[in-house]
């Protein structure tokens, strides 16, 4: 099954169940926190096991440059466009 479809179906299943079954907010937040930390642990291991750190030198340098510049411009453009369309603000 296509990955995007699988994710959408899982979200939809959770959404529908959430509408029917009453679950404590604290329980859900705790569960999300624990699984998020597990996810970060897995991604950390995947990152270093991929050889990214051992690679060193030029490949890592170029990767850092691209990710940092692309991310920075994405945020700058987002801030500008949200302001232009009147969608920005201090909503939290």
């Amino acid at each position: 099954m296509n990955y995007s479809v699988l994710i959408l179906m899982t979200l939809l299943l959770g959404y529908l169940l959430g509408r029917v079954v009453k679950v404590e907010k604290k329980i859900i937040e705790r569960s999300i926190m624990v699984t998020t930390l597990l996810l970060i642990l897995i991604i950390g291991s995947k990152f270093s096991a991929s050889g990214a750190i051992a690679e060193g030198g030029a490949i890592l340098r170029d990767s850092i440059i691209i990710s940092f510049i692309a991310s920075s411009f994405s945020v700058i453009v987002a801030i500008l466009l949200l302001r232009i369309f009147g969608l920005g603000g201090d909503r939290t």
Binding site: I7, L13, L41, S74
Partner: protein
């Protein structure tokens, strides 16, 4: 969730990886541990959204569309700048990968092994940037910062966004990540087509 917890757990994961253990590759019947954890998270977020009885409103859609445009415009500008800095046109499709490292790396590997490796690390770093820096954002920047996560805001970085910005923003993040995921293959392919001799 505290910021130090994110950093500490990430560093612990990095140490595990340096020992040669890739936790994401541990699997059962074709599914990896990463798949199981991801699906559990997405399910929990769906449960949370269902519990809140949130409805997709005009504002969610408008902000999502603006953020999708920002992700690609910003990545394109960044890619063009990196093209000039690194003197290689491959920087453009790599930047347009918008955090989807598995697809972008596999696609760029076909034309250049070195740039395939860069595509993998650069897009992985983008995901890490979002994960590690998102807890530091405040106010209006919380929505704009979704652009950094790119395609990952529908899965791996979604829980961080949910925990720090709430249900409303997590809904925007999911729509953003989903549409970006659909568009990345088209845009990366178009960029490769344009730069190919």
């Amino acid at each position: 969730m505290k910021y130090w917890q994110v950093i500490a757990v990430f560093l612990l994961g990095t140490c595990v990886g340096l020992l040669g253990i890739d936790l994401s590759s541990i699997g059962l019947k074709g599914y990896t541990l990463l798949d199981f954890v991801l699906m559990a998270l997405i399910f929990l977020i769906g449960l949370d959204l269902g519990r809140m009885r949130l409805k997709i409103g005009h504002r969610h859609l408008r902000v999502s569309v603006v953020l999708i445009a920002s992700t690609f415009i910003g990545s394109l500008i960044g890619g063009l700048l990196c093209y000039l800095l690194l003197k290689s046109p491959y920087a453009i499709p790599v930047a347009l990968g918008s955090g989807w490292y598995s697809y972008t790396a596999a696609r760029v590997f076909k034309i250049s092994v070195r740039w395939g490796a860069i595509a993998l690390i650069a897009n992985m770093l983008r995901e890490l940037l979002c994960m590690l820096l998102y807890p530091l954002t405040k106010g209006g920047l919380r929505e704009a910062f979704i652009s950094v996560g790119g395609a990952t805001t529908m899965d791996t970085t979604l829980p961080i966004i949910r925990l720090h910005a709430g249900e409303e923003t997590s809904l925007i993040a999911f729509i953003h990540g989903f549409i970006v995921t659909l568009l990345v293959p088209v845009l990366v392919e178009a960029a490769i087509e344009l730069i190919s001799p």
